[in-house]
């Protein structure tokens, strides 16, 4: 696997995301971060920590499992997604929700995440933050906050590894 980004670069990108989120939402105070399993949740955790260090105050954070909302559940062959818990212990009604994911590709995860989120209530608005945007969209979806845009051949896979889950911070091309 070819390494595209190392720990230092990933850290820098997450800081950049935090800065652009605060710049656009200001101090409105109703911001909540919702990470998409299974690495968006870790990124959301790190963003929450950075934003709190910057004195943003209390920010709610939750984790979304999108398995039940995928549009390919009945056509996945041997790739069986495993259902895990959605953990959002605050009301999403009238909140500004920033969805957090590791890689934005087809846009189908994002669509599923929006459906899953709306099943929980009616947010005031939903925005999208991603570490990597690798293009190849299949749906009319774009990210509001992007760590890095990467041009990658369509047959290759961008894989994000994060310490909390994988033991190291790295973005690789598989």
């Amino acid at each position: 696997m070819q390494v595209l980004l190392d720990e230092q670069e990933i850290g820098r990108l997450i800081h950049k995301l935090a800065v652009s989120i605060t710049a656009s939402v200001g101090e409105s105070g109703d911001l909540a971060l919702v990470g998409i399993r299974s690495r968006g949740d870790i990124l959301a955790q790190r963003l929450q920590r950075i934003l709190q260090e910057k004195g943003y105050g209390r920010i709610d954070r939750g984790t979304l499992d999108i398995t039940l909302y995928r549009d390919d559940l009945n056509s996945m062959g041997h790739q069986q997604p495993k259902l895990q818990s959605t953990e959002i212990d605050f009301s999403v009604d009238d909140r500004m929700i920033v969805l957090v994911d590791d890689v934005l590709n087809t846009g189908r995860s994002t669509r599923a995440a929006m459906e899953a989120l709306i099943a929980l209530g009616r947010p005031r608005c939903i925005r999208l933050a991603v570490l990597i945007d690798r293009g190849e969209r299949e749906l009319p979806i774009r990210a509001d906050y992007v760590g890095k845009v990467m041009e990658v051949p369509p047959d290759r896979r961008v894989q994000v590894y994060l310490k909390e889950r994988d033991g190291r911070d790295e973005v690789g091309l598989g």
């Binding site: 499992d65 039940l68 559940l73 790739q79 994911d101």
Partner: protein, 318 residues
Amino acid sequence: MSGEPQSERFIWNRKHLLGLRELSREELFHIFDTAEGFKEISRRSIKKAPPLRGKVVVNLFFEDSTRTRNSFSLAASRLSADVMEFTAKTSSVSKGETLRDTARNLEAMGIDIVVIRHSAGGAPHLLSRCIDACVINAGDGYHEHPTQGLLDIFTIRELRGDMTGLKVAIVGDIAHSRVARSNIWGLHTLGAQVFLVGPPTLMPSEVGKLPVTVCHDFDAIIGQMDVMNMLRVQFERIGSTVFPSVREYTRLFGLTMNRMKRAKKDVIVMHPGPINRGLELESEVADGPNSTILRQVANGLAVRMAVLFLVNQAAAQK
């Protein structure tokens, strides 16, 4: 969609759930983990998710049932499936013929999952061989009732975590209990120690071949038990030779407040419902702090959602 190495993942490939006897540890854990994910849906204001949208689930019940049937219906509805209720009685036609014919009729309607309850042990197995749809056993004769076994064990696991070495007593009419059999196999696979407690006349004839310890004196072992699953006394058998009187049963095997004094303080008291209050279980115990009866019902819904979801996933794979 971002993914991870598929080799790390467990793949569920059973499109039928016929019994717990054949399930491995990994399969049981996979069902429990999936059920855990479904519990959250019951806490929402909109209690619905779309994974079985466009699928048809048939409740094919040849025996009376209220709670299991309702639990399956609600579970299927929460997953956005269409549910068809099919009530049939076995009395008129011979069982094998009825079942095969019924199955063919159902197939012709384009169904995806059949939930079957039948008075003949093995009926779900037969059905699984003659149709393409997924088959879930909701109780067959005295054989198995796998989703009840799963929800009981899921409830124990939720409260105790690791099952290894846990002492579980199943008390009452074991011979006629499919709930007992499913519990025995599942608990055994997960390393728990199962004790069957009841009069010799209510022990199954094949008890020597089961991975259990048999005990006819409840009071002798009650102090060591971590869990006590109190089976329902089946009134239709009272007065027969196997079951002389209600009062004698309650005196020897009923769980009373008095008997509870000898049990561990944190013992889990379970009952598959419906309870005969004052018979196998005294009201104060049924409603007391050790009772998990309502938790079992809530977990039953999550477990059945998990089973419906998983068999459909396995069918999509093939």
